[in-house]
């Protein structure tokens, strides 16, 4: 049991001042602007938006600055902020087939309609430190833009139609189909109601989408290493902009309120069949705000692993255990419970101390009693 403490106000105020000072760092170094974070640490922004579960680049950049670059702290700030805003409603489901593609690759088919588009990727870089980036402004080697993508005249455009690669396999019936459900009003929302196990796929995907990247990465990795083996292929990974449509109650017709950048991963998994399903390719799905490629790949692996029960697979690995995965995926819940251990537990610990003393005394007396029952009687 936690017993509250009070007081310490002056010390806490001073600690917060010190925190502000540490955040600012050396005053001789120019202050970082949130616009710089938004533009130049954009993948941090993307992660904070995805796990903070709020698409707003400017707020995410502010949270990162305030949290001194601690992304989980920044996610916490975003989650707290969102509770202060009213909910206007739910968007129509975004159509990722109509994405304005910036990156789209498939590891399963070489020749796909629309082609393989590498886009802005770390893949195929040599992972050598680029000391040009460390050069101070004004120095030789300042980023001048000469390394940037240029637009020669008459350059080709991407095809208008970029069908989802997994949809190509559908015609042969070799792949598990994803069909729209019938009742849109019954879509689970874990920001409104708690999880009740077993949960449906909608709640599972929402949970994974806002889940911690590191946790999902480790779980996804575990499925590849044999804990719930599912032999995955990256059927398709795509990145780009998608329109968000919303029907305001007061208007009664759908309007586009803007565009969001999304990352999507479709994992395709070999499946040898079971009593429940014939041999086929099964699927795992990952979707995130911004450019979070590692996250959506891991999410897709875990989503597939969690289908184990419905596919009639043996469910014995951590990544296949719905309750284990979903109850531990949220880094704000997790850090809340882990970090509350820092708070004063003086009373709590005093009672534990008393208890341990008492148990030791009893044990000692029991030991003595076994050897010499009369000695105990005499002692009492």
């Amino acid at each position: 049991m936690y017993v509250a403490v009070k007081g310490g106000e002056a010390a806490i105020n001073e600690a917060h001042k010190l925190l502000a000072e540490e955040r600012r760092g050396d005053l001789a170094v120019p202050e970082l602007s949130t616009a710089q974070i938004e533009e130049q640490l954009s993948l941090s922004v993307d992660r904070v938006m995805t796990e903070g579960s709020l698409y707003d680049r400017k707020l995410a950049a502010l949270a990162i600055k305030q949290a001194r670059g601690d992304l989980i702290e920044a996610i916490f700030l975003i989650r707290a902020y969102r509770t202060t805003l009213p909910r206007f409603g739910y968007s129509a489901a975004v159509d990722t087939a109509k994405m304005g593609i910036r990156r789209r690759i498939s590891a399963t088919f070489k020749d796909i309609p629309g082609g393989q588009v590498l886009g802005p990727t770390f893949d195929y870089t040599h992972r050598l430190l680029d000391f040009k980036l460390a050069a101070e402004e004004g120095d030789e080697g300042e980023t001048s833009g000469s390394d940037f993508a240029e637009l020669p005249d008459g350059v080709a455009q991407l095809d208008d139609s970029m069908p989802r690669v997994v949809d190509l396999l559908k015609h042969e019936g070799l792949i598990e189909e994803e069909r729209p459900g019938e009742k849109p009003e019954s879509i689970g929302d874990l920001t409104r109601e708690p999880m009740n196990f077993p949960v449906d796929r909608d709640v599972r995907l929402q949970n994974l989408a806002r889940g911690d990247e590191g946790f999902l990465l480790a779980l996804g990795y575990s499925t590849q290493r044999g804990y719930g083996r599912s032999h995955p292929f990256a059927g398709e990974i795509r990145l780009g902009e998608v329109a968000v449509e919303f029907v305001p109650e007061d208007l009664g017709f759908p309007i586009e309120i803007g565009e969001v950048t999304l990352s999507e991963c479709q994992m395709v998994n070999q499946f040898k069949g079971s009593t429940e399903a014939p041999p086929q390719f099964t699927r795992g799905y990952g979707l995130s705000f911004g450019h979070c490629e590692r996250k959506v790949m891991a999410m897709a692996l875990v989503d597939r692993a969690l289908k184990g029960r419905e596919l009639g697979e043996v469910v014995d690995s951590p990544a296949q255990d719905e309750e284990f995965v979903m109850e531990h995926s949220d880094n704000i819940q997790a850090s809340g419970f882990v970090e509350h251990l820092k708070l004063p537990h003086y009373v709590d610990f005093q009672s534990e101390l008393e208890l341990v003393r008492k148990m030791r005394r009893e044990r000692r007396e029991a030991d003595l009693g076994e050897k010499d029952p009369q000695a105990v009687e005499a002692a009492e």
Partner: protein
């Protein structure tokens, strides 16, 4: 409304500043920021699920009729992603003006078409840059085959 919502707010400010004959108007609903839950679909085509929220700012304005009483008043709505109140306000004002069939054609030409062209150019440029990264990998024949 989609063009007004997606355009750069600075472009809207410029268009408003350049506008002759600005109407008198009043708030029907002052700008308010809230959230819309964005939905995706499992596997892209399957059952919908809640992905995460997006900040949205909304407002409504009503333009007032002219002095001679001949003009009608029109209601305009601003509904857009983000927290920029001025952007929402201008989107609502242009929306109101576009309801007026007499002003609509001129506004379409002077404001909406150039904004749409800018958006299109932005898309075009991103598409061209990505197209330059199109790749055609070779599959090598393995030695033992």
């Amino acid at each position: 409304m989609s063009v007004l919502a997606k355009s750069d707010p600075d472009d809207l400010i410029r268009a408003w500043d350049d506008l002759e004959d600005k109407p008198k108007w009043r708030w029907l609903r002052k700008p308010e920021t809230g959230l819309v839950m964005v939905r995706g679909r499992a596997g892209g085509t399957g059952a919908p699920f809640n992905l995460g929220e997006i900040t949205v700012t909304r407002c409504a304005v009503v333009t007032e009729g002219g002095e001679n009483g001949a003009d009608q008043s029109y209601t305009g709505q601003g509904y857009l992603a983000g927290r920029n109140r001025r952007h929402a306000e201008l989107a609502a004002l242009f929306d109101a003006l576009l309801q007026n069939s007499e002003r609509r054609p001129a506004l379409e030409d002077a404001v909406i078409k150039p904004l749409a062209a800018r958006l299109e150019a932005r898309r075009h440029q991103a598409s061209a840059k990505s197209a330059a990264t199109k790749v055609d990998f070779f599959t090598l024949v393995r030695g033992e085959d």
